[in-house]
Subunit: 226 residues, 2 copies
DNA sequence: CGAATAGTGTCTATTAGACATTATTTT
DNA sequence: AAAATAATGTCTAATAGACACTATTCG
């Protein structure tokens, strides 16, 4: 029987937000080796005694100032190829975070710089480690979960209008949706949206305001084009 | 800035199979501390230089004799609570494995005994570590993925009949499905099932044989009852 | 009033679910 | 022939998608 090998454990975050009518991801420019000056997903080492959700929430707070109550964070997947980090055996538990209306990011401890980048501009940049793959997995998870979950609300401030929610779907999926059918769909599923009774007027008829309902799931789902 | 903390990394496996008209999970009785003599999910330490999929495949082969080509294995989730293992910081990357028609299990290196157990009998047993939670997550993943993926075929030998596939769905979901509607559904989605042209006769009219098709996904999905 | 946006209604094609019927084998 | 299982067909209710229409605001 072989001996167990100790590894270093990190959490990395795919932090997505809808900003400037675009799906954007939070990237940091690394301040230290390896991959110094390269763009990377925010993240860092799991600390002594710290659970994985705690580590993810802490890193998110350091990079964005968001506290976990206002953000949706879920575990994405774990990446552990022996050669993924030149420092040695470093395994990362990637998380997906969806935030609403973030201000400008602030640089964290080992991040010289942080920036929101439209996801379709990322393929041009070389990300550190296997972060390009992790980002792709995170985006696909977000797209897939919009179909059957109330995840879209996590990308919006609360309360929100049906039109704002629809815009989130359109931006994340990159396809346009019929406003009338979308409205009928999301308001028709019991418990998915909670009407606040309030309205907000921008231009035209005032829009009813909603918060995410208790259902959490959208059944039957909204389907994207295949 | 705090120091990274080294952890030991394991892979654990939720190995599911349909045996004796029942959804069963492979459990091992632990031969060593901690939790000696307790039932647990099969698994073990990730070895030096070993990637996560390799470690999962190796552990699976040790416990069942299955090589990875014949089995569906996918990463499930990672569990890293600081107190989950009394030995210290041990983080496990759980995997879901679906196998067809396994023979009797053989005990592995640190497993004194191995057994297939119907999943509905598991709540009676006390599983080691947080394995009860991991098992629950694995079962739910399998149930959910049957809806939209060709995962059911992984629980069957190849080729198989539509009736055999339907039985898998019924057993995993614990609900009965209309044979005629199920047949129409799975044979109607292009690329989901590949007819072999062969038939197999048990009792009654010979059944056409199929293999899993190239599509991999079932769109639109089959939905379970909610 | 006209423009703009929100929200409802209506029609049609597709799909799901219930269930009848036909087809092909074994005994 | 009878029993058993496979496979197809038919009907109906529900849903998705296209699109007309009404509602409520601002300028």
């Amino acid at each position: 029987m072989s001996e167990p090998v100790p590894v270093l454990l990190t959490v990395d975050l795919v932090v997505l937000s809808v900003r400037a009518d675009d799906l954007q991801v939070l990237l940091v420019r690394r301040g230290i080796e390896p991959y110094a000056d390269a763009w990377a997903l925010p993240g860092g080492f799991v600390l002594d005694g710290e659970d994985l959700p705690d580590a993810a929430a802490r890193e998110l707070a350091e990079e964005t100032g968001f506290d976990r109550a206002r953000v949706h964070v879920e575990q994405l997947a774990t990446y552990g190829a022996a050669t993924r980090d030149p420092r040695g055996r470093v395994v990362t538990v990637a998380h997906l975070a969806l935030v609403s209306d973030p201000g400008e990011p602030r640089g964290g401890s080992d991040a010289a710089e942080a920036a929101w980048v439209p996801v379709r501009e990322v393929p041009g940049r070389e990300l550190a480690f296997d972060h390009e793959r992790i980002l792709a997995d995170g985006i696909e998870r977000a797209r897939a979960k919009l179909e059957y979950s109330a995840l879209g609300a996590a990308l919006l401030g609360s309360p929100f209008t049906v039109a704002e929610l629809r815009r989130v779907y359109e931006i994340v999926w990159g396809e346009s949706l019929d406003p009338r059918n979308f409205h009928r769909k999301v308001t028709g599923v019991a418990g998915f949206l909670e009407p606040t009774g309030e309205t907000r007027t921008e231009r035209g008829r005032p829009a009813a305001l909603f918060t995410a309902g208790p259902a959490g799931v959208l059944h039957p789902p909204i389907t994207r084009q295949r």
